[in-house]
């Protein structure tokens, strides 16, 4: 690990300025990902701005929306009565991620901003455009069994690892951001970006911009929801593929649906076409399979992840079945 400076401001504006002014500074909250990356030499910030003293841990349900502070711990969010009542899909997704110990440290904002687990990104002896632009994508012709089937570029085929974000993108969340040039709101679907020619940029945040909260609007998806995560062991592993499904049912007819995939792209992958397909149709396995076919349009596999072309639609079907039965 490199030597670095460490500051712990108690005012939000001071924290933002500290990072905005210094290209080699970065925020640290739970540190569950950043510290690993520093130990491995993948990230080497010269200044850590610890934001844990900022008053950003509240979880409030105001009329029409849930507001989760950026520093609310994953475990606190998943355990919160208001979240459980209004956004059960989010609870399932958070609990599918990492381990209880990590969820006790990881924050809401940090979870969204965790970096890819692509092994080429993690190994400084390997090429990786995300870590070191211009060195090439090691995974493109390498061991790419964990990699993207949607939205990739020839510069990067990594996937975003967060489970929580898959639920948030499905639930039309909004990210609240504060920066050197003031506050702004970002639709969750626009927070993460596709790699294109600049895979080193994971998100659309500007330097010094700090996530302060995420808002989730109230919705009718309080019963028929499922986050189904397929991984190589029963717990504590990143997804091969995951699917978030939320249904609003009128008897056995689908009034509305929210769907997203995890583990398939550089960002949590919302499935709006499949959602629209489901509206007005009966909640049957046959319908779900057709929706899954719609969801998979445009998917393309590499040498080692061809299985995802079968696993992803099947996982979506499983999640929809679970949601219907819930």
């Amino acid at each position: 690990m490199n030597q670095f400076q460490y500051v712990r401001p108690s005012k939000q504006q001071a924290a933002i300025e500290a990072v905005a002014k210094d290209a080699n500074a970065t925020f640290i909250a739970g540190g569950t990902n950043l510290v690993d990356l520093m130990k491995r030499g993948v990230m080497a910030p010269q200044k850590l701005v610890d934001i844990n003293r900022l008053p950003l841990t509240r979880i409030d349900h105001d009329p029409g929306k849930l507001r989760i502070g950026a520093l609310a711990l994953n475990s606190a969010v998943a355990d919160d009565k208001q979240v459980r009542e209004h956004q059960p899909l989010l609870v399932q997704a958070i609990n599918a991620g990492a381990s209880a110990q990590l969820r006790n440290m990881a924050t809401t904002g940090g979870n969204m901003l965790q970096r890819t687990r692509c092994p080429y990104f993690y190994d400084t002896a390997m090429p990786c455009n995300k870590r070191e632009p211009g060195t090439g994508c090691g995974a493109l012709e390498g061991i790419n069994r964990m990699h993207a089937i949607f939205g990739f570029s020839d510069k990067c085929i990594a996937v975003h690892p967060s489970d929580m974000s898959v639920a948030l993108v499905a639930l039309d969340a909004t990210v609240l951001v504060s920066g050197p040039r003031g506050d702004r709101r970002i639709a969750f679907a626009d927070l993460h970006r596709l790699p294109g020619d600049t895979p080193e940029k994971d998100t659309t945040l500007e330097p010094g911009e700090l996530i302060t909260a995420v808002e989730v609007p109230d919705n009718p998806f309080t019963k028929h929801v499922s986050y189904h995560k397929v991984r190589e062991r029963a717990s504590y592993a990143f997804a091969l593929v995951s699917a978030a499904a939320a249904l609003d049912l009128d008897g056995s007819t689908i009034k509305a649906a929210r769907l997203a995939f995890g583990g398939v792209a550089h960002k949590p992958w919302r499935l709006t076409a499949a959602e629209q397909f489901l509206v007005g149709k009966p909640a049957t396995e046959e319908t779900f399979k057709q929706a899954a076919t719609v969801a998979m349009q445009g998917a393309k596999a590499f040498k080692h992840n061809e299985y995802k072309l079968r696993l992803a639609p099947n996982t979506l079907v499983q999640a929809l079945k679970n949601a219907t039965a819930a």
């Binding site: 690990m1 030597q3 190994d123 062991r233 079968r310 499983q318």
Partner: protein, 745 residues
């Protein structure tokens, strides 16, 4: 006097359990010595070639750095020689990597430099600053290429009777003309031991010719021998301490480059050096279960009698050291086939040397054989248990000898009943619970009931406590507890009055902990030493007391503060008086295996594992919902620790079956699965409540205790039981482990 309850066969808690759960047990990395320094290894980033230059200037200038050692400036190690002929050491040709000895790179992440500093953080920081330039050569890490150039191990060429030489009984490849015929290939990927405790060593030169090392090793004597030889020292000048070992599963059975590096570094900086590997280095520097390709040819008569088996195996090894293991052994002796032949080959690649990993080759081999048994039963439309019973053998078909003991049929019966085998359907995919398919499978394991030579020291303290000492390590099975029980029963003392000390090369010589042989080997030494102590004390007491002089040693009773006699408790000799007559020193006894019995009988432990699995046919997720492991391991010394060992093996088997695999990017010859996020081992949620059953019948021939060994059979046969259950659930036969979702969707 109140009779003591018998300790052998009890559920005595671990004698070191309290130390372990309170954090008071000291592991190798946890010793603190005055003037300690800290070492971090720098690994190569190419798989093959030559180091042209190493720029260590920035590292040397970094704060707190004491030395940067490379092959350019390393102190010369007098004797980098191959491992000797110790049967507890792998039979290798070639030799261990001679670290910092030349400019050659033989595998990716080979140590090319070690940075020593006054703190770990400073050493780690400076290690990042070391830059190497290479002259790269074309490497080969692809097993497919290795298979094309597979060769007969040197050991087999030298000795046609070697266990890895070709074997033929009846006609070779007779399966090809059999009535019902099967031919299938099975693959095991490279698996890594990944014990919880990282490999660690503290090297301390107490004088220019006296070395003490606190080391994670399974054998204090073997480690002492290797490093005494490396430095041209008399063995007694090297002291190895390994009191607690936090799991090893085989990867501390060999001496590795990081150990040599720490000793070199301590020599150079003239201070004690602590070196702890990183989790990533555990993948590349301390062995692994070798990637192994196997092919089974099998034929049977329509009534379910096996007529022939051919078992071929090729295991991966390094370019500089031939590592072999007994992958094909179970095929030679498990079933009554008149025609059996085996072929074992090696594939040398530009990787580090593999090492035995729990079960070792036998577990790899059993995946192929026991999967093939299931496939053949399916072809014959027979229940796989019935098929095994039709081919059961009451003597060893490999050599015609009788078994020293064999209760495998009893295991079959007990295990089948507990798992509910009668629910199993012949037709795959017949059972379902909601979205999940259910299947049942079984797999058999066997491992030689090995016994070697061992010594044990014993002495009595004035307070009536008996102290025993052995150089043996306890890597987790509860060796210290088992030896305490054996001593307690032999002496007629409660376990609190026994103090068994282990893990130090200065104690009585004992073999390396491995090959399921420790209770078989050290147990009799402890037993015989206790008997010798009894006899010595009786003779001494007899000098002044006629009742003792005429008594039999079996009648000697250890009371609170004095020795007395069974049936005559007026005869008393106080410990204080007895000890006045001695120098208070140890009685040392050597215990050797009975050579004659070894010649007359074939000695094996057996296990059978029954698995119930649930498979989601949409997503390919597999969950082991029930696992029953039943063992014929002779006398069970401690029901609790033995049960624990069986459960650990079963969970290891779940890992082997469902998730454990490394992936190598052959373009770079570099692994991409180097940490525990990418290399998956089972978590609690993957392990069902494993049910363990013991036949618990003493073997009359291995030793006087009747033990046969448990460590390996706990895992051998588990992976095929799960693979067979997955087939029974889905009709899909996966012949390349692990059975991850991608192989089932």
């Amino acid at each position: 006097m109140k009779p003591l309850s018998k300790q052998i066969g009890s559920t005595l808690n671990r004698v070191d359990g309290h130390l372990k759960v309170t954090g008071a047990a000291t592991y190798s990395a946890e010793y603190e010595l005055p003037g300690m320094s800290y070492a971090v290894l720098v690994g190569s980033t190419i798989a093959k070639g030559r180091i042209k230059s190493i720029d260590a200037r920035a590292a040397e200038k970094a704060p707190g750095v004491l030395a940067v050692i490379t092959h350019f400036n390393s102190p010369k190690v007098p004797g980098f020689t191959p491992t000797g002929k110790d049967p507890s050491q792998p039979q290798t040709t070639g030799g261990r990597l001679k670290v910092f000895n030349d400019d050659k790179v033989r595998f990716n992440d080979q140590p090319i430099a070690v940075v020593v500093a006054d703190t770990l953080e400073r050493a780690r920081f400076a290690a990042r600053l070391v830059k190497a330039e290479y002259e790269q050569e074309k490497h080969e890490t692809d097993m497919a290429a290795g298979l094309r150039q597979a060769f007969v191990p040197t050991q087999a060429k030298k000795n046609p009777k070697s266990g890895v030489a070709d074997y033929v009984r009846g006609t070779a490849d007779a399966y090809k003309t059999g009535a019902v015929k099967l031919e299938a290939e099975y693959v095991i990927p490279t698996e890594v031991h990944h014990p919880m405790e990282l490999q660690a060593i503290i090297a301390h030169w107490e004088a220019p010719d006296r070395l003490t090392i606190y080391d994670k090793t399974q054998g204090t004597m073997a480690t002492r021998r290797d490093f005494a030889k490396e430095w041209g020292l008399p063995e007694e000048n090297v002291k190895v301490i390994a009191t607690f070992v936090g799991g090893a599963f085989g990867n501390a059975l060999h001496s590795w480059p990081h150990e040599s590096a720490a000793i070199i570094a301590a020599r150079q900086v003239k201070r004690p050096v602590k070196l702890v590997l990183t989790r990533e280095q555990m993948t590349t520097m301390v062995g692994y279960r070798p990637h192994t390709w196997q092919k089974i040819g099998m034929s049977a008569s329509p009534d379910g009698k096996i007529t022939a088996i051919t078992h071929e195996a090729t295991g991966q090894t390094s370019s500089y050291e031939e590592f072999t293991e007994s992958t094909v052994q179970q095929t030679r002796m498990m079933y009554t086939a008149p025609n059996v032949n085996t072929r074992y080959r090696l594939a040398a690649l530009d990787v580090s040397t593999p090492i035995w990993m729990r079960g070792p080759g036998e577990a790899t081999g059993a995946f192929a054989l026991e999967s093939a048994m299931d496939e053949m039963a399916h072809l014959l439309n027979l229940d796989p248990l019935e098929f095994r019973l039709r081919n059961y053998t009451d003597k060893d078909p490999e050599n015609g000898k009788p078994w020293s003991s064999k209760f495998l049929k009893e295991c079959y019966q007990m295990g089948a009943e507990r798992i509910g085998w009668s629910k199993r359907q012949l037709k795959p995919g017949s059972l379902r619970d909601g979205d999940w398919l259910i299947g049942y499978g079984m797999g058999v394991g066997t491992f030689g009931a090995h016994r070697g030579s061992s010594k044990a020291n014993v002495r009595l303290l004035p307070n009536g406590t008996v102290v025993l000492q052995s150089a043996v390590t306890d890597i987790g099975p509860g060796t210290g507890t088992a030896m305490t029980q054996i001593a307690a029963d032999t002496l007629g003392l409660p376990p609190e009055k026994i103090r068994f000390e282990w893990g130090n090369s200065e104690f009585a010589p004992a073999p390396t902990q491995g090959g399921s042989a420790i209770v078989n080997t050290v147990g009799p030494a402890v037993q015989e030493a206790c008997l010798a102590l009894k006899e010595k004390l009786r003779t001494m007491a007899g000098a002044s007391n006629a009742a003792f002089a005429s008594a039999r040693k079996e009648d000697v009773v250890f009371a609170d503060k004095y020795l007395t006699l069974n049936g005559n408790d007026t005869a008393r000799a106080s410990y204080a008086d007895l000890l006045k007559q001695t120098d208070g020193g140890f009685v040392t006894v050597e215990s050797k295996p009975n050579g004659e019995n070894g010649q007359k009988y074939s000695m094996y432990s057996y296990s059978v594992h029954f698995a119930e699995v649930r498979v989601n046919p949409l997503t390919g997720e597999v969950r082991v919902s029930k696992l029953v492991s039943c063992a014929d391991a002779g006398t069970i010394v401690n029901q609790k620790t033995a049960g624990n060992q069986m459960k650990g093996g079963a969970v290891g088997g779940i890992g082997m079956a469902l998730m454990e695999a490394t992936h190598m990017d052959d373009r770079f010859g570099r692994y991409v699965t180097k940490d525990l996020a990418d290399y998956h081992v089972p978590v609690q949620a993957d392990a069902p409540a494993v049910e363990v059953l013991f036949v618990n019948q003493p073997d009359p021939h291995v030793n006087a205790l009747g033990t046969k060994g448990i460590g390996e059979i706990a895992i051998i046969g588990v992976a095929p039981a799960i693979a067979n259950a997955v087939f029974n659930a889905t009709g899909k036969r996966v012949r390349e482990l692990p059975i991850t979702p991608d192989k089932l969707v």
